[in-house]
Symmetry: C2
Subunit: 371 residues, 2 copies
C-alpha cells in the first residue's frame, strides 16, 4: 500500500481505481470464489494518501469487514440503472475532490471489470480524469513477498504430491476425461482449495495442443500423456506440468524429455536478476533447437494470484528480472508436426544466485505408466 502510494505520487495520480479480483485481493485480502458470478461490479479505491475504500455490493460487506479494510460502502447490487455507479462517483469526488486524476490499470493483461455503459456514466457523473494506472499494480504484484512465495510453494507441493499419484488413475484404456476428473480429485485430496485450471493431452509420441478439453478417447500404449495444473491454495496458484509414457517410450521421446528437463535447469541457473525475459527465452530456445522445433510460443511467464501474470518469456519482452519474481519455465519441443512435448516448472528469482525451484523439479527420466 505504501509502495503504491509512493508510486502514485510520482505518477501524479490522486488514487487508483481497481475492479478485478486479483487486483482487489492484492490490496485487501478479500478472497472468495464469488467472482465467478459476473452479475455485480466491485471497486476498491486506493487514495494517494489515506486508507483504501471499498465500494462493493452489500452481499460482500460482511466478508470485506473481516479484512483490514475499514471504510466499506455498499449498495444493494444488482441494481438496474445504477449498479454502484453513483455511489462510486460520489465516493471518489468526496475523497479526492472534483479535479482528481484517477489511475486505472489499462496495460497488458488488464481489463475493466464493469460494463462500458457504466464506465461512461462514471466518467460523466464524477467529472474526474481517469487515466493510465502507470503499471503501478502490475509492477508491485510482479515482486512476491516471502509470504506469497511460501503460498505458491505450498500450492506446488500439493500438485507435486498429486502428480506422484498419477499411476493410480492413468493407464492404457482409461478415457482422458476420466483422467482429468480423477487427477483433480487427487489434487483436492492432497490439499488444493480449488482446481481452476487443468489442461492436458495425450498422443502417440507427443500431443497436438495444450489447451483442448479432454475427450472420451482412451489412453493407448505408446501415448505421451501430459497433465498441467493450475490449482490454488489460499488464493495462490501453481502452474506446472508432468509428462508420462504409456508403456516404454521410444528413444526420441525419452531424449526430448531429458532435453526439456535439462533446458529448465539451464534456464533456472541463468534466471538471475539483471537478465531479461527475452534473454531467458533465447537461452531456452537455443538449448532446444538441437532437439526439434522449439516452436514460436512463449516459454514461460509470471505466476501468482493468477495462473499467468506479468512477464512473458518471448523475444519481445525486455522486462528485467528482479529478486522475488516467480516465473514458470515452460520449454516445448515439436518432435514432428502435431507431436508436441511441453515441460514446465515454477521458480523464484533470488538475489545473486540461481533461481530456486518452487515445484520439486522432475527427473530427466520420463515416468512410465501401465500399458
Amino acid at each position: 500500500m505504501q509502495r503504491a502510494q509512493r508510486r502514485m505520487g510520482a505518477a501524479d495520480l490522486d488514487a487508483l481505481l481497481l475492479t478485478t479480483e486479483a487486483d482487489i485481493r492484492y490490496f485487501s485480502g478479500f478472497l472468495t470464489r464469488f467472482w465467478e458470478s459476473p452479475s455485480r461490479p466491485w471497486f476498491l479505491i486506493l487514495p494517494a494518501a489515506g486508507n483504501p475504500v471499498a465500494v462493493i455490493p452489500a452481499i460482500g460487506s460482511a466478508l470485506m469487514a473481516r479484512t483490514w479494510i475499514r471504510d466499506i460502502r455498499s449498495w444493494p447490487s444488482p441494481l438496474p440503472g445504477d449498479d454502484g455507479v453513483s455511489l462510486l462517483a460520489d465516493t471518489l469526488t468526496e475523497l479526492l475532490g472534483p479535479k482528481a486524476r484517477v489511475g486505472v490499470p489499462m496495460g497488458p493483461e488488464t481489463y475493466l471489470r464493469m460494463p462500458l455503459t457504466d464506465w461512461e456514466q462514471l466518467r460523466a457523473r464524477s467529472g474526474l480524469t481517469f487515466t493510465h494506472g502507470a503499471r503501478i499494480v502490475a509492477d508491485l504484484r510482479a515482486i512476491k513477498s516471502d509470504a506469497e512465495i511460501s503460498l505458491i510453494r505450498a500450492a506446488c507441493a500439493v500438485a507435486d504430491r498429486a502428480f506422484g499419484r498419477v499411476p493410480e488413475v492413468a493407464r492404457a484404456g482409461v478415457p482422458l476425461n476420466r483422467v482429468f476428473r480423477d487427477f483433480q480429485r487427487l489434487c483436492l485430496e492432497e490439499g488444493a482449495d480449488f482446481v481452476p485450471y487443468l489442461a492436458g493431452a495425450a498422443g502417440p509420441g507427443g500431443y497436438e495442443d495444450v489447451i483442448s478439453p479432454a475427450g472420451p478417447e482412451p489412453l493407448c500404449r505408446g501415448d505421451v500423456l501430459m497433465l498441467d495444473t493450475g490449482l490454488t491454495r489460499a488464493g495462490y496458484f501453481c502452474d506446472f506440468d508432468r509428462n508420462f509414457s504409456l508403456g516404454p517410450a521410444p528413444a526420441p521421446v525419452r531424449s526430448a524429455h531429458a532435453a526439456l528437463v535439462a533446458a529448465v535447469h539451464e534456464a533456472a541457473e541463468a534466471a538471475r536478476p539483471g537478465q531479461t525475459a527475452a534473454g531467458l527465452h533465447r537461452i531456452l530456445a537455443s538449448h532446444l533447437a538441437s532437439h526439434g522445433n522449439p516452436g514460436g510460443g512463449r516459454l514461460g511467464h509470471g505466476l501468482g494470484m493468477q495462473l499467468t501474470e506479468g512477464l512473458s518469456l518471448i523475444p519481445d519482452d525486455h522486462t528485467i528480472l528482479q529478486p522475488g519474481m516467480v516465473i514458470t519455465l515452460e520449454p516445448s519441443i515439436e518432435l514432428a508436426p502435431g507431436r508436441l512435448m511441453v515441460h514446465e516448472e515454477n521458480v523464484v528469482l533470488r538475489d545473486g544466485a540461481a533461481a530456486d525451484f518452487l515445484s520439486p523439479p522432475a527427473t530427466a527420466t520420463l515416468p512410465e505408466l501401465e500399458a
Copy 2:
C-alpha cells in the same frame, strides 16, 4: 447466428465484436479452461451478413479449427505493443468497410476483455464506430435451446448425486475446508468436468454469509451446513444448494427449511411466461415474510454458460419471463441476525405450464448428519 444477424439488421449494426469466454463460446462452441490465463485477448466478429471470423492467439488456432468457424486469423500472442489490435482493426475494416457500425456488449454483466489502451488503439486505427451491442447477445443467451437445457439438467444431476453423498464427508468434528475439498471430489466422481464454484457455510441455527471461503473450523452439533455448487459439465453450470443439520435440528430451523422448500415450489408454479422477474421476487418474498426476515438480496437469477447470467429476481428487474429461460429460485430467511438459511433450485420455464425442475427438488425435511 441467424437470429443475431436479424437483430443486427434491426439495430443498424454491421457486426458484433465479442471478447469474453461465454459470448465467444455461445456462437463458436470454443470450449477451453485456457481463459483462466489473462495474458491473451480473444476476438470473435459476427458480421450482419456472412460467417463469423475468429481473430485469436495462435495457441488457440488448432482448437478453434475443430469448431464450425472456418475463417480463423491469428497472431503470436502475447505480443507487446500490438497484441492483436492491428490484426483485429484490419480484419474489421476488410470485412465491413471503413464506415461500419460495430456493436459491442456494454450492458449489465458485460465487460470488455481487452486492455483499455488496446481498445483506444483499436478505435483510432480502425476509424470505425463502436456502439452498444443492443443487448442482442444477452437476449439470445437468455433463451436456452433444448440442447442447452439438457446440458444444464445433466450438470444438475451430477450435483444431486454429490449432495446425496454428503453424509460420507460431513459430520461433527470435520473442518469446513475439508468438507469443501471432499465435496468437490464427490462432484468430480459423479461426473463434473470442473467445479469452478463452491460456496457454503455452517453455524448454529443458520450461517452468517454465503460467499466466504471455508476455514479450518470443525462442524459442530447444532450447526446448519449449507453447500452451494456451480459445477460444470460440457461448459454448462448448475447452481443450487442443499442444507443439512448436524444432529437433530431445532424446530425453528426445521420450519424455516420447510418454508424455503414450499416457497420454491410456489415460485416454480408461478414461474410462467408473462410473469416478470420482479413479480416472481414478490411471490417469494411475501411467502417468506411470515417465517422471518426474507432479506434484501436477490432471490434468484438466470443460469447457463455462466454461474449467474441474465435476469435477477429483484424488485427492479421487470424482465418478462419467456419459455426456455433457465433460472434459479433462491429464497433466504434470516432467522436471527447473522443466522441465515438459503435454499436454491434450478428450473426451466415452459410455455403455458409451471416451471420444470432441473435440479431434483429437495424434500421439506432437513437432512440430518452425524453429530
